[in-house]
Amino acid sequence: MQQIMKLEGITQEFGGLRALDGVDLEITRGEIFGVIGPNGAGKTTLFNIITGIYVPTAGNLIFNGQKINGFPPYKIASLGIARTFQNIRLFNRLSVEDNVKIGTFGLEKISFWGSLLGLPVEKKAEREAKEKSDRFLQMLGLYEKRHEYAASLSYGEQRRLEIARALALDPVLLLLDEPAAGMNPAEKEELMDLIRKIRDELKITVLLVEHDMNLVMNICERIAVLDYGRKIAEGMPEEIKNDERVIMSYLGDLGE
């Protein structure tokens, strides 16, 4: 088994608050890995560290054997780590299609002169962006809306657009921060199929934060539980469901 991402003793402090406290995590290539935990446990902070938005106070981030601590976010993206955001972050006043096209920009360096003069390299990159955007918009069922403003989409569509944009980067690792939030049961079913398809067909490793236990237990092969910034458990869904500490601190609250 080959690990794709390894976190060693990741600690993140905000002033006096310790949002993450010595978290170790190993993600294996090709798995769907879930991170759960109560509100404020540090799940989003973990994502922000992996994607370079925060530089951890202590600890190491190792991606494909390479230490990526302190890499700026754009560089981490171009290594093939894509994400979606808990509080949706789309390019609202751009078209749906442009949103996905921009998702490809980490693949090929954007050249100023190439863009200004319409050089062949840029033309090629633009064609590829268009192809990718068509493909992923079709996959996510948004193709018909490609010329609308991103802001005009419904909530569930916006979440799917974020996924399409992330896929456009051709990632090897995809981070999904509460992708099911605000979705109805039917949409959640579709989302589960989609996540499986992303892993099985596109061969992308998925790391996912989610509060919907049904979804997490159904599609994740391994799960880590965070509580007050600490990892309190890790294992397969069955193990997590029956873990004493997890039931006390989290699952109990959810009435499961």
Binding site: P73, L90, F91, N92, I110, F112, S115, L116, A129
Partner: protein, 296 residues
């Protein structure tokens, strides 16, 4: 060619058209920074003055050709845009606005005390090298290049920064680098228009490039519609002509100017062209076509 224009067009109108052209170049530069990339810069006149003084000093004292001086002025402004962009573009919103105001003030005070620039009196005696046809050619070239840039990946990336900087980074866009680039190009265009301005008016002084001038340029971009090229051109044209038309109300000029801005912003809060997209127009136009067909 210019002789023909001068013969057939009233000198007063020709003058206004030249000034519109100079302002279009200026405003298209700021549009890149503020309208497209979303970085509020309130010191654009500072870059204009660098171009204006550099070009004027070169033609007056060093016998440099006008075109050479024009390019040198633009490059000098771009260089300062680059230098100032690196530290300041890490700042956001209001902070950036304040720093750019400060920068433009420093430049103004510098020229106020700059011996070769004539201190408070400024520079005069520049030949009127700037002609109507030259300005129009530059306006067309600058506009075409702007259109080209904004429709490319580079332009999309700049819009993405305006829309959501964190998401843009997560897509692999080096936002700091692109913001500095936009700022540099914006400063280049300001410097270019400055050189044209100084060789049209024949005299320049530090107070020509004060805070009010920066605000005026910003108004052109906001009025026309942030990030829209046709909008910026219309905005520049209106705000060049408006003060001329308001000459009749003399002392109340500023009052009317302000009131008109307020009214326009109430009726078109996103600017005149701010929320119009070519695609929408095309779609609307196509649907109309279908309607007429079915009626006949």
């Amino acid at each position: 060619m210019d002789a023909w224009f001068m013969q057939h067009i009233d000198a007063y109108y020709l003058r206004i058209m030249v000034l519109i052209g100079i302002n279009i170049i200026l405003a298209l530069g700021l549009n890149l920074v503020t309208g497209v990339t979303g970085q509020l810069s309130m010191g654009h006149a500072g870059f204009m003055s660098i171009g204006a003084y550099t070009a004027a000093i070169l033609t007056l004292h060093y016998g440099v050709s006008f075109i050479g001086a024009l390019i040198a002025g633009a490059l000098m402004a771009a260089f300062f845009g680059f230098l100032i962009g690196i530290p300041t573009l890490r700042l956001e919103g209001d902070y950036l606005a304040i720093v750019t105001i400060g920068f433009a003030e420093i430049i103004r005070v510098f020229f106020l005390n700059f011996e070769p620039g004539g201190k408070a009196v400024g520079l005069y005696g520049m030949q009127q090298f700037t002609t109507f046809s030259l300005v129009m050619v530059i306006v067309i070239v600058v506009t075409l290049l702007n259109v080209k840039l904004l429709n490319s990946r580079y332009g999309r990336a700049l819009y993405a920064i305006r829309e959501n900087e964190i998401a843009a980074e997560a897509c692999g866009i080096n936002t700091t680098r692109m913001k500095v680039a936009a700022f540099t190009v914006g400063a280049f265009l300001a410097g270019l228009s400055g050189g044209l301005y100084s060789h049209y008016m024949g005299y320049i002084a530090p107070q020509d490039f004060g805070f009010m001038r920066s605000i005026e340029i910003l108004n052109m971009v906001v009025l026309g519609g942030m990030g829209s090229i046709p909008g910026t051109i219309i905005g520049a044209a209106i705000l060049t002509v408006l003060p001329e038309m308001l000459r009749i109300v003399a002392d109340y000029r500023l009052l009317f100017y302000g009131a008109l801005l307020v009214i326009l912003m109430i009726f078109r809060p996103n600017g005149i062209m701010g929320d119009i997209r070519v695609y929408d127009l095309r779609k609307r136009w196509q649907t109309k076509e279908v309607e007429t067909c079915s009626k006949s």
